[in-house]
C-alpha cells in the first residue's frame, strides 16, 4: 500500500496537468530558487543609499527603493529566504512533534490518548499569534524564535490529523497481519501505519507552510519578527504602509509576492487533496474488485 517513488512522480505529473497547480508550482519554484541562490544574484539587500530613498521602480531598481535607499527587489528576494526558512523549519518542528504525539495517542488510546490530547487541546486553545508573541517575548526576537514559535503553533493540527488517521487504520487487516507476525508497536506505528497516513499529512504540511509564512509576516508586521536589517516581507509591509502615498510600490510589491506565495501554496494544497482523494478512491476500488 505504500506510495513508492513512481507514484510520487505520477502524482507530480498529475499535479502539473492542472493548469492552476502547475502555475503555482512554477511560481513557488521561482521563489525558492531565488531564495536559495540569492547570494549569486547581483542584488544587495543591505547597502543603504540615503540619497536614493523611496525611488519608484526603474531599470536600476525594478521594485524601487525603500526609505534607506535599499533595493526593494533585493530585499524581497532575501525576504523569501526568511519566509521559506521559517516555513520549512516550522513544518519540520510541527511534524516532528505533532506526528509522533498523534501516532501514540491514536495507536494506544487509553490514558495516553487522554493525556496527550488534553495537552494538544491546551495548545489549540491559544491563538497562534498570541502564543507566538509570548514565546518570542521569552526567547527573544530572532529568526530561530519566530521559527520555533510558528512550529509549535502548528503541532496540534499535525497531532490531530495523525491521531485520526491512526485510529482509522489500526483496525484494518494489514495492521492486524503485521501484529500477528510479531511486529512491535513502534514498528507498526512508524513503518506500517505512518506511510499509509501520509497523504493528509503532506497536505497539512503545505497548508502549515502557508500559515507559517503568513504568521511570520504578521509577527514582523507587529514588530516582533526577525530583527532589522534582515529583510522580511512582513517588515517591509510594516514600514511600507507609512509610505503608501510617496512610494506605493514599497508595500504593494512585497505584499503581492507574499499573496502570490500563499495563494500558490493553497492552490497546490487543494490540488493535492483532490488528487490524493482520487488516488485513495482508486486504490479502494481496486481493493474492492
Amino acid at each position: 500500500m505504500r506510495a513508492g517513488s513512481g507514484s510520487i512522480l505520477q502524482l507530480l505529473r498529475r499535479l502539473c496537468g492542472r493548469r492552476s497547480a502547475a502555475a503555482s508550482l512554477a511560481f513557488l519554484l521561482l521563489v525558492a530558487l531565488a531564495a536559495v541562490f540569492a547570494d549569486w544574484l547581483p542584488l544587495d539587500p543591505l547597502t543603504q543609499s540615503l540619497a536614493d530613498s523611496l525611488m519608484p521602480p526603474s531599470a536600476a531598481a525594478w521594485f524601487g527603493t525603500d526609505e534607506l535607499g535599499r533595493d526593494i527587489l533585493a530585499r524581497v528576494v532575501y525576504g523569501a529566504r526568511t519566509s521559506l526558512a521559517t516555513a520549512f523549519g516550522a513544518v519540520v518542528i510541527a511534524a516532528a512533534i505533532g506526528v509522533p504525539v498523534g501516532l501514540v495517542a491514536g495507536f494506544f488510546g487509553d490514558w495516553r490518548d487522554s493525556v496527550l490530547m488534553r495537552c494538544i487541546d491546551v495548545l489549540l486553545a491559544l491563538p497562534n499569534i498570541l502564543f507566538a508573541m509570548a514565546l518570542i517575548a521569552v526567547l527573544g526576537r530572532s529568526q530561530a524564535a519566530a521559527l520555533v514559535a510558528v512550529g509549535i503553533a502548528g503541532v496540534p493540527t499535525f497531532a490531530r490529523i495523525a491521531r485520526a488517521q491512526v485510529m482509522a487504520l489500526r483496525q484494518l487487516d494489514f495492521v492486524a497481519a503485521t501484529r500477528s507476525f510479531g511486529g512491535s508497536s513502534g514498528y507498526i506505528m512508524f513503518r506500517t501505519i505512518l506511510p499509509n497516513a501520509m497523504s493528509p499529512l503532506v497536505v497539512q504540511a503545505i497548508v502549515l507552510a502557508s500559515i507559517a509564512i503568513l504568521l511570520e509576516a504578521a509577527l514582523a508586521f507587529l514588530g516582533v519578527g526577525v530583527p532589522p536589517p534582515t529583510p522580511s516581507w512582513g517588515e517591509m509591509l510594516r514600514t511600507g504602509k507609512s509610505y503608501l502615498h510617496e512610494a506605493p510600490s514599497y508595500a504593494v510589491l512585497p505584499g503581492l509576492v507574499l499573496t502570490l506565495t500563499i495563494l500558490s501554496l493553497d492552490t497546490i494544497g487543494r490540488a493535492l487533496t483532490a488528487l490524493l482523494d482520487n488516488h485513495d478512491a482508486d486504490l479502494a476500488e481496486r481493493r474492492g474488485s
Binding site: L46, T47, Q48, L50, S53, E67, L68, A137, R141, G223, V224, P227, P228, P229, T239, K241, S242, Y243, L244, H245, E246
Partner: protein
Amino acid sequence: MTTISRRQFWMAGIALAAMVPMAASNTAAAQQLKGGTLRVAVLQELANYDPQQLSTVNFHVIKNLYDSLIEYTADGKPEPSLATEWMIAPDKTSVTVKLREGVTFHSGAPFKADSVLATLQKGADPKRGKNVFPTMSVVKDWSAPDERTVVINFKGPVPDRQILDLLQFMIPIEAKGIDTVETVPAGTGPFLLVSRAVGQGLRMKANPNYWRPQQPFAQELVFTVFSEDASASAALESGAVDLIYNGSSRSAVRLKSAGYQVFTGPGKLVQVFRINSTRGPFRNKSFRQAFNHLIDRAGILRVGYAGLGEVVAQPWAPASPAFDGSYNKSHAYDLEKAKALLKASGLSPAEMKDWKLLVNGSEESSVQISQIVQQALAKAGIPIELDVRQGAEFVTALLGGDFAAVFGAVGNVQKFPSRVATNSIYRTVQNPILKDPHPHPAYVAAIARVDAATGSEAEVKAAYDNLNKVLVDEAFAVPTNSYEVGLIVASPKIGGVTPEIDNLLVARTIGFK
C-alpha cells in the same frame, strides 16, 4: 545678562499685562475668526490631567484646561498670564509674583495665592512633583504675604532665565483638587472638560468665565484618538477633523504639499544617541568621541523626520541661549576622523563590537535611524546587532539604564541650559543610566557653573561655552538633530494658531476663517 531694576521689572510686567488683551483682540479682529466646534485628531491617548506630568501624551490638553503663571512668546520673551507682575530680587535669591484678579477655577472658586502655594508644595514633593520636581531643586521655600502675592525664595542666587522657566513651568492647580488632579482637572483654563471616552477621545466646552477677553474662539473642542498616523491624515483630508496635533513629520510634509497648513513651534525635541559610558567599550572616551563623526545627522533628519528640524551636535534648539551652530560643522559626519579616534582608543575590534544598540521597535523613526548608524559602524569596521524591543520592554530597559546605547529624545532644549539635566541621560545626580557617583565630573561641574553664572553677560557666555565644550569632549550623549513635537497640520479654514514655547496645543486662539 543684564540685571533689570525693581522698577523696570514692575513696569515691564504691567506694560505686558496691558498688552495681552489688546494683542488678543487685535488678532481676532485682523483674522475675523469665527467660533464653532474645533475637531482635533491626536495620535496618543491622554495619560491623565496632572499638568506637572508634562509629557507629549498630555500636550494637547494642558494649555486648554490650565494656565501657567507666565508664558513665553515664540522667541522666548516672558509675558504675563496668571501672574500679572513678577520681580526678581537684586541678589537673585527670590522672586515676588503678583497674581491676577478676577480669575476663577473651573469649580467656580476664585484663584488666589493658596492654590499657587499648594502647587509649589506638590512640585517640591519628590513623589508627586513629577516633571516639575527637578525644576524645584533651586527653591528653598515660599510664602504668601497676601492672597494676591507669592514670594519664592531660592537656595542661592539663581539666573533670571532659570527663575522665569520656573514661573512658566508653574501651572496653578486648585488647592482642593490637588489630590485628585490626575483624574479630575482642576485648572483655570479656557476649556472645561465635558466627557472622556478612554481610548477614543475627549470633549471640552468653552469656559464661560475665562479671564482672557474674547477667548476661546471655539465653543467646543473635540479630540479624537487615532492609532495610525495615516488614519489621522485621511480624517483631515476627508474633513472629519479640522487639525492634526502631534502627527508625523512625513505626513505633515505630504499634507503641506496638498495645501494644508503646517505650523511648527519653538519647543523642539532633540534626538540624542545616548551612551552608557559605564559599559564595555563606551568606558573609553576616544571610542565615544568617534560617534560624533560616525553619525550621518543630515541623513537621519531626512529619513527619520522628513527634513523637518535641524542638524545639531549639541542638545539645544536654536531658541536656547546656549545654542552654538559652530559645533554642527566641527562635529559633522567624517568617517576618517571617526576611524582615527577609534584607532586612538586602543580597543581591539572584538572589544569595539561587544555591544548591541537598543532600539524602540514601536517607533519607526528609531528603527530607521538605528539602521543608519548600524551601517555607518559597519563601514568603520564595527558590525553590531540591533536589540529591537517593543513597548514596555523597551521603556523598562531605557529607564533602568539597561543598555549600551540607544536613541532617545530630550526636551527642555529651548529653556535655561541647565534644564537639560532634567532629561535622564543628562541628570547630574541619581542618573538612572550612569548612576552615582556621576562618571563625568567635568559635566557636573559645567552644569553647576551655568547655574551659578548670575553675573555679567561674558561670565554667562563663558559658562555656556564651557558646557558645550565639556559635552562634546565627554560624549556620553551625542545629539543628532532637533525635530518637531506637537506639529500642527490644519485645514486651510483654520486660523489663529499660536506657537507655544513647549509646542503645547493652545486651542483658545484657534478659530475658523
